[in-house]
């Protein structure tokens, strides 16, 4: 019987600072054959261990279309994520997974896609975004609506510039607090509805961000005419085991770690809201 709780050793091969508290780590499994055969899907997560600090579920931000390595964009927030931030290129960490379901890919081909993200919520979306760009001709118009607290706190700044240049692609940014030279909007993500037309026809919206942002993004999307099943989100939940055993991420009879983290809003509506979905 496989022991699902045992993590596999990996090495950090690149460290990229995104913001003052957020860093992207590129890691590779130490076992060459294992690294090459390792497969995951957009939207899945891994359990990352730093021995001594513990283990935490972190979404994979790299695209499955790029093989051999994994990328995680991590904000130093708790014991484990701070432990990861103390590591440098060449250091080891330990991974198990991938876990959870994934964002639809085949099903959304031929559609207009709205990516709506807040703060570090762009990290799990980035996996799908880059996968979509690697197959750009299969998709229609793409819009990214992205908000952060300050311009400094926008993640993936180089990629945001690169994505803007892709044909039929728009990137709209907003921040809560601007600074000198900020040429974009100031306000919450839903303020971006004033800058660009959000239209439900042949479209899906894929949302990730803090609970309050998801809540208001859904309201705006519904107002714009999006059907609940076309609003897709990845839910955040305190999680330990990642495999449907420890119980922490349960909502109703669902485990966010196994049945999610990706749900459409039709499914979210069926969860018992008294247990707190957001």
């Amino acid at each position: 019987m496989k022991n699902e709780y045992i993590p596999y050793p990996a090495v950090i091969e690149e460290v990229r600072k995104e913001t003052f508290d957020t860093t992207t780590f590129r890691v590779r499994f130490k076992d060459k054959a294992f690294a090459e055969n390792f497969q995951y899907k957009q939207g899945q997560f891994m359990e990352i261990s730093v021995f001594g600090a513990g283990e935490a579920p972190i979404s994979i931000t790299s695209s499955p279309s790029k093989k051999g390595f994994l990328e995680f964009t991590i904000r130093a927030a708790g014991k484990v994520t701070k432990g990861i931030h103390n590591l440098k290129k060449g250091d080891s960490l330990y991974l198990r997974g991938p876990y959870g379901n994934s964002f639809p890919f085949e099903e959304i081909k031929g559609k207009n896609i709205y990516f709506i993200a807040g703060g570090i919520g762009l990290a799990p979306l980035r996996s799908l975004i880059n996968m979509v760009f690697d197959n750009r001709k299969d998709f229609k118009h793409i819009k990214l609506l992205y908000g952060a607290k300050t311009p400094e706190e926008l993640c993936f700044k180089d990629e945001l510039e690169a994505w803007k240049k892709v044909p039929d692609t728009e990137v709209w940014l907003t921040v809560d607090k601007s600074c000198d030279g900020w040429g974009c909007r100031v306000g919450v993500v839903t303020e971006l509805w004033k800058d660009t037309h959000v239209h439900p026809e042949n479209a899906v919206a894929i949302v990730c961000g803090p609970p309050i942002m998801i809540k208001f993004a859904v309201i705006e999307l519904q107002k714009s005419g999006f059907k609940d099943k076309d609003i897709i989100m990845t839910l955040e939940r305190y999680m330990k085991c990642g495999i449907g055993k420890c119980g922490h991420c349960n909502i109703g009879e669902k485990f966010v770690c196994v049945d999610g983290p990706v749900f459409n809003y039709e499914q979210v509506e069926q969860l018992p809201h008294k247990e707190g979905v957001f």
Partner: protein, 370 residues
């Protein structure tokens, strides 16, 4: 769910048709039987401790200690404070050790003989077996149950006034899932065999077991009937399952009132035979340490609190409702079995007198009970 019956073959089917005779063991022979059994198994039995409480504990292997422990075995209908779940899902356990980046898995799989567990606790074990096999397999739990032999002791009188197994149809005698079941009479136990393994056990230790005089099956039915009638607490269990299966059936006010009364000690979840939630953490010193897990409880404020401080179940009543909905609604919806086995421990352990049976009465009888 055939874990307790892994050798279910032709022989077993014959037994079910009644080919295997009911056996009998004298009460005075139990100690000697267990003395033999500890040579092969880790034997767990209910024992009175220094404080006078009865715990389901392992028998020591050394002769002197074993004799003392055997004297403390209590098979009468006494309350075992917590269920036997901790034999397979310990309150605190090591998952693996790590030393300078090397991982050493700690998995335990010794053969275990559970002697004298109650039918409700058997049901709890079978329920947990199923849970730990679902989705991903939990190697720690499943290794511990690999070689498990279960001797159930049916309850003649309910050990707790809060027992409601007859309503939940989980007792006072087990109908399946055991290897052997003891039916108490004044000087002896009549023994029902529930599996091929049970039959083999009786053959192996045959010097302790005798054939029963004719009519033993009638005696057993009579004893079971009286035992069932002796359980005073009755609730409409099937009705609550049906009512709960309707979405949002229980009015929020009920949960809010219970939420105000609960003191969030987690006691009910610790004593519950089917509560399986755990926390994971590292013990660490000088590059070496252990990944541990320990029992956790959904009533605790930190259970769903995220690193950011955001807590989707920050209101007390949201956490109070989770326990009832999980056991009576979601478990039933997902598995067709209730997560409550009617042992009544949640009520008997509760400092503020809240418990599952009261909740069921409140819902089905539409009256305030707590």
């Amino acid at each position: 769910m055939n874990l307790a019956l892994p050798n279910r073959g032709a022989g077993y089917r014959r037994e079910r048709k009644g080919w295997v005779k009911i056996k009998i063991i004298e009460k005075k022979d139990i100690k000697n039987l267990l003395k033999e059994a500890v040579k092969e198994w880790s034997v767990y039995a209910p024992q009175k401790n220094l404080g006078g409480d009865v715990w389901f504990d392992a028998l020591p292997k050394q002769a002197a200690e074993l004799d003392r422990a055997l004297d403390n075995i209590v098979l009468e209908d006494t309350d075992t404070l917590i269920s036997s779940k901790d034999i397979f899902f310990p309150q605190l356990e090591s998952c693996f050790e790590f030393n300078d980046g090397k991982i050493h898995e700690t998995v335990e799989s010794s053969p275990k003989l559970l002697f004298g567990i109650r039918p409700c606790d058997l049901k709890g074990l079978l329920f947990s077996d199923d849970f730990y096999k679902r989705n991903f397999e939990d190697k720690y739990y499943l290794s511990r149950i690999e070689n498990r032999f279960i001797v159930v002791k049916g309850c003649i009188k309910p050990p707790r006034s809060a027992c409601f197994c007859a309503s939940a149809k989980t007792g006072p005698f087990a109908d399946k899932g055991y290897d052997l079941q003891l039916v108490e009479t004044p000087d002896s136990y009549l023994i029902e065999t529930g599996s091929r393994k049970g039959e083999d056990f009786i053959k192996k230790y045959k010097k302790f077991f005798k054939d029963c005089p004719a009519g033993a099956d009638k005696t057993i039915s009579q004893i079971k009937k009286i035992a069932c009638e002796s359980i005073e607490l009755k609730v409409d269990f099937q009705k609550v399952l049906e009512m709960m299966s309707k979405d949002d059936f229980v009015p929020e006010e009920n949960y809010k009132r219970i939420g105000e009364r609960c003191i969030y000690c987690g006691g009910c979840l610790y004593v519950c035979p089917t509560c399986t939630c755990f926390n994971v953490f590292d013990n660490f010193k000088d590059k070496a340490g252990e990944r541990m897990r320990n029992w956790d409880a959904c009533v605790f404020e930190g259970y769903t609190r995220e690193t950011s401080g955001h807590n989707p179940r920050k209101e007390k009543w949201q956490r109070a409702s989770r326990r009832y909905e999980h056991k009576l609604k979601y478990d039933y919806k997902l598995t067709g079995m209730s997560g409550c086995v009617g042992c009544g421990r949640c009520l008997s352990s509760c400092p503020v007198d809240i418990g599952m049976s009261k909740f069921i009465q409140e819902i089905t009888e539409k009256r305030k009970t707590m």
